[in-house]
Amino acid sequence: MTLTVALSKGKLLAGATDLFRRAGVPFPEEPGRRLVVDHEGLRFLFVKDADVPTYVEYGVADCGIAGRDVLLEAGSDVYEPLDLGFGRCRLVVARPRNAQADPRSSALRVATKYPRVATSYFLERGVSVEVVRLAGSVELAPGLGLSDCIVDVVETGGTLEANGLEAVEDVAPSSARFIVNRASYHAHREAVAALMGRLRAAVQ
């Protein structure tokens, strides 16, 4: 039974590589530009961050590693049995320093790469919201008048500070998660349990 593992080519790759090495799980040396790599009984897919949950939800990959932030945004129907402990960051609401607490009486305008998370966060708190979806450099938006605030991930807060913003509310903590397809969990129980066991041992 060859398990297929979906990994992000992005910021979680270094942590995932390190984890697999520590766990003694075979890991391809240099994937280079190859997107599918068969390596010692495992098949690795190297895909975009936000696509990892999709590959796993559809069962194209049996398991994978994705940030909790990405999982929250994707709303994917997958198991998340292991918190891998790396890639720690926080999803926060940030706004310009010295901004008024309640800048407008009508809908709050929020710029974000996480429209789903941002929308439900504010609506659940009874705040009407207009979400402006951006693909990156979200920190620019309030300063240029595109939005009142942003919802984004922060690690150290350095980028926020450099752009005159401060985190005012925590939306959710995030870290890398080992995720498993719901059918693979049962239909490939032994292989999934073996891989999960080795990763768990390496995390603790």
Partner: protein
């Protein structure tokens, strides 16, 4: 005047159409499954395609139901599932019939749902309902029929994962969390996210043993030996212990009938808690990333229609079974015999009387 917003050949989202070999395979799947249901003495029921909307009040389905007003102003709905309809019929039209009543169905249900993995708006379901009778025996029978369906359909390495809603419910009751936290707890148990469960319970009033049991629930899935560990994990909460014991008896009965290798356990299955009251199960097989069927015990539903009867049932999704068989490389449905070409209607009718497949041509060219 505005023109139509779509081209005439455009299809609405979420519908499908099957032609030729695909249709043959679907027909074969339906016939094989129906044969198994009939083999266990279940009786076919062909319920209406729509009914009053209040019949379909299954939690979670209401938002997915296509409803409309009839000329008299009644709110009607296209059936989003069969179980409610069958319960209504058992309590109405079949009210005189003594329990247990064994019924099966095969047909489309319609649901509005956002496009996602393996979901369509028009689904073809085949399933059975066992109404009344002794619960443990009925549960075992339902699982056994499901296993036979997998075998009859040629599904390789299918797994039926059994759970029991009382395990989570009893632990959540014992944890004494408020409704919002209970929802969050259930969502994290459903994701098998141990650290997420711990976060929800952090700072709460739950006793340490209950807290540990709820966290443990996220890893109580696997082969049936899990039940031994489960009994230990939940030992602080008697109702959860009883539910595990009930599952143990069911598993032992299935093993004694030679079905053990198809059976697994998943005590973290909390998907359909609002609906089911005891056993729950889901059917998986290698090759498809989502379940191909599911079922469970719903002792509360028939009382709504005025005939309180315990009940268990399950359904298989024909669309998913077809996809699974294709992925598993199952042989295609047997082809029909080649049609004999005849050129006159009289000759064609004669051949048909003898049962021969014919293709009547008048020498026309195909185009």
């Amino acid at each position: 005047m505005n023109g139509p917003s779509h081209r005439l050949v455009q299809v609405p989202r979420g519908v499908q159409c099957f032609v030729g070999d695909e249709a043959l395979r679907r027909r074969a799947i339906e016939d094989l499954t129906t044969g198994v249901f009939q083999g266990w003495d279940y009786e076919e029921i062909i319920p209406p395609l729509f009914d009053y909307a209040d019949v379909f009040s299954t939690p979670g389905l209401a938002a997915q139901t296509y409803s409309f007003l009839d000329r008299d102003g009644n709110l009607l709905a296209l059936r989003p599932d069969f179980t409610s309809l069958l319960a209504k019929i058992a309590a109405g039209r079949l009210a005189h019939r003594a329990a247990p009543i064994r019924l099966f169905y095969s047909g489309e249900v319609l649901r509005y749902q956002p496009p996602r993995a393996g979901r369509h708006n028009e689904l073809f379901q085949m399933g059975l309902e066992h109404l009344g009778g002794e619960s443990m025996a009925a549960d075992a029978e339902a699982v056994a029929v499901a296993v036979e369906c997998l075998d009859a359909l040629g599904v390789r390495d299918g797994v039926v994962a059994l759970g029991h809603v009382a395990v989570f419910n009893a632990l959540a009751d014992a944890a004494g969390v408020d409704p919002a936290a209970r929802g969050a707890l259930r969502e994290r148990v459903d994701a098998k996210d141990a650290s997420g469960v711990a976060d929800v319970l952090a700072g709460g009033a739950a006793a340490e043993a209950v807290r540990k049991a709820l966290i443990g629930l996220t890893s109580l899935a696997g082969d049936v030996s899990i039940l031994d560990r489960a009994a230990q994990t939940v030992r602080a909460v008697p109702a959860a212990v009883a539910a595990v014991a009930e599952l143990r008896a069911l598993v032992d009965g299935l093993a004694a009938a030679g079905l053990g290798r198809r059976i697994a356990v998943d005590l973290g299955d909390v998907r359909a808690l609002d609906y089911y009251t005891g056993l729950v199960f889901r059917i998986f097989a290698p090759g498809l990333g989502f379940e191909v069927g599911s079922g469970g015990r719903y002792d509360g539903l028939l009382a709504r229609f005025g005939r309180p009867l315990p009940a268990v049932g399950f359904m298989l999704g024909l669309d998913r079974i077809a996809l699974l068989l294709e992925r598993q490389g199952a042989a295609p449905a047997p082809a029909l015999a080649a049609a004999e070409v005849v050129t006159s209607l009289a000759a064609a009718c004669e051949k048909r009387r003898a049962g021969t497949r014919v293709r009547l041509t008048s020498g026309e060219r195909t185009r």
